[in-house]
């Protein structure tokens, strides 16, 4: 069986580990190291697939009509190489699979959701651990990407401000980027030199980001768009984030605008884009949103530990960060991927506390940034007047039916059911295992 490996997403392991060493670690101790990676490795007649524990990097595979194993980060590329959609599966996060002519067998790995919560967790010890892990991760980034441009996506909220704090402390020449919609008058004023954060129609996110960036000594590059820009970004948002579900598509649209301007600001340079994603899933800090009578981003009414389980396992599906930024040749970096196990040990009783994220993470901020960080809980795609990107999609009448149609249009000739079944129960479709552990 030939291996056709179309994987091209950058791998970040935050340690000097080769693909082979990552695989060997998974096979020997049963757990893969943290990071952002998806790999396919042939050794003799054996082909192994492995994917990071959070599922940051996507990994699709299937056999084409010639019997070759086609592997890739983008499902559409695997499909374009002759694998029918119904035959494409995803390697689940944190798993090592052995793939043969007979099918796929799970040979090692661990589900993140199986990490046991620590009922006696000490917040102080947690913070020491998180700080040490982030210090190591950023030291590795400084070495690995020496000479590169660094950009941090900053909303002015706690998670991105924490990443910006560590970036400012460890990395040279970091630029902060922050997004806002502006109305037509303010777009003109901005084009004539008015700072975006001082304009009336700028989002509160941008204003908070400007204060945090200033406190950290980072130059801020506002990324501005008129609300009208969304209509032209919908198709690319669906395709690049490999998802049709609104919460991921809306976020992908914001990231798309950020990616476009970061790429334009640093032409020809290798740019590492840092984001503060993942903590909201780890501490299940999400709420549903209402626009008029419509309810979006519904949150299941279940106990906090169960909610966390489904938020975290749901990180498997959707590619709103790496898929979007990498499409513009930018290297996406999600340092909180290094901390998944630490956060999974936070007990359910703590998750139910108001402001738990603030309790856990605020002491890790650079002290000069702390007074400027916004405590308002706002998703990136909701920030701004009239509910930001979500509000614009709503007013355009672009809901799940339209997004699903755009998704299906990528696969002409495939039945709708095969397109839809790529995501089932919140995860990319796993393989039908032949055997294994």
């Amino acid at each position: 069986m030939e291996l056709i490996d179309l994987s091209d997403y950058p791998a970040l392991r935050y340690a000097p580990l080769s693909d082979g060493e990552v695989l060997d670690r998974g096979l020997s101790i049963g757990r893969l190291p943290p990071g952002q990676y998806a790999l396919a490795l042939r050794r003799g007649n054996t082909i192994h697939l492995a994917r990071d524990p959070v599922g940051c990097s996507k990994l699709f595979f299937g056999r084409n009509r010639e019997g070759d194993l086609v592997v890739g980060n983008r499902v559409v590329r695997v499909w374009q190489r002759g694998v029918p959609l119904a035959a494409i599966a995803s390697c689940p996060p944190g798993q090592v699979l052995e793939v043969s002519r007979d099918g796929a067998a799970k040979v090692a790995g661990q589900e993140l959701c199986d990490v046991r919560a620590d009922a006696g967790l000490s917040v102080a010890a947690f913070q020491v651990e998180v700080r040490a892990t982030l210090d190591r991760a950023f030291a590795w980034l400084a070495r690995e990407f020496e000479g590169c441009q660094f950009a941090v996506c900053l909303s002015g909220g706690l998670d991105s401000s924490l990443i910006a704090s560590f970036a400012a402390a460890h990395l040279p020449g970091v630029a902060a980027v922050s997004f806002t919609y502006l109305d037509a008058d303010d777009l003109r004023r901005h084009a004539l030199g008015a700072p975006a954060e001082q304009l009336a129609s700028a989002s509160e996110d941008l204003k908070a980001a400007a204060r945090v960036a200033s406190a950290l000594g980072l130059p801020l590059r506002p990324v501005v768009r008129p609300g009208d820009a969304v209509a032209g970004a919908i198709g690319a948002s669906v395709r690049l984030c490999q998802d049709w579900r609104d919460f991921n598509v809306h976020c992908a649209t914001v990231n798309l605008f950020l990616a476009q301007d970061i790429r334009a600001a640093f032409p020809g340079r290798k740019v590492v884009v840092l984001t503060g994603d993942l903590v909201n899933e780890y501490v299940c800090d999400y709420r549903e949103e209402r626009v008029g009578d419509a309810v979006y981003y519904k949150v299941p009414r279940v106990p906090a530990d169960r909610r966390r389980r489904y938020f975290v396992r749901g990180l498997d599906a959707g590619d709103r960060e790496i898929g979007v930024f990498w499409a513009y040749g930018l290297i996406p970096c999600q340092p909180f991927a290094m901390l998944a196990e630490s956060y999974m040990r936070v007990p359910a009783a703590m998750l139910d506390q108001p402001d738990i994220k603030w309790t856990l993470n605020a002491p890790l901020l650079a002290p000069e940034a702390l007074p400027h960080v916004s405590k308002t809980k706002t998703r990136a795609q909701v920030g701004g007047k009239d509910m930001g990107t979500l509000g614009i999609y709503h007013r355009l009448g672009v809901g799940e039916a339209v997004l699903r149609r755009i998704w299906r249009e990528q696969f002409p000739g495939e039945p709708a059911t095969a397109c839809d079944e790529l995501i089932e129960f919140g995860r990319y479709k796993p393989p039908r295992y032949t055997s294994g552990r």
């Binding site: 799970k106 299941p300 106990p303 169960r306 909610r307 396992r313 089932e424």
Partner: protein, 91 residues
């Protein structure tokens, strides 16, 4: 039937939950047992999670992530079979 858990009882209890917590056009007489409640529009993605947690809590089981698939959970009948399987493993 497996052990003390009869398929018909399991399905009836699940159907009661669905009909009371997620009102739809279906009744106890018309709610399909062999079709996906997600595809029928009875449950949305949040509702599916609530349903899984209901099943786990009611029958004191923890469904493994690898069993959360359409193949294993794609209808009330399949859910009942899954509960029987987990219950049998416990006993």
């Amino acid at each position: 039937m497996t052990g003390a858990l009869r398929t018909a009882d399991l399905v009836a209890k699940m159907a009661d939950y669905i009909l009371s917590q997620h009102p739809s056009r279906f009744t106890a007489q018309t709610l399909p047992h062999d079709q996906s409640l997600l595809e029928l529009g009875v449950l949305d993605s949040a509702g599916v999670i609530e349903f899984i947690v209901f099943v786990e809590t009611t029958w004191e089981i923890q469904i493994s992530d690898e069993d959360i698939t359409k193949e294993r959970m794609g209808s009330l009948d399949k859910m009942a079979a899954l509960v029987q399987e987990y219950a049998a493993r416990k006993s």
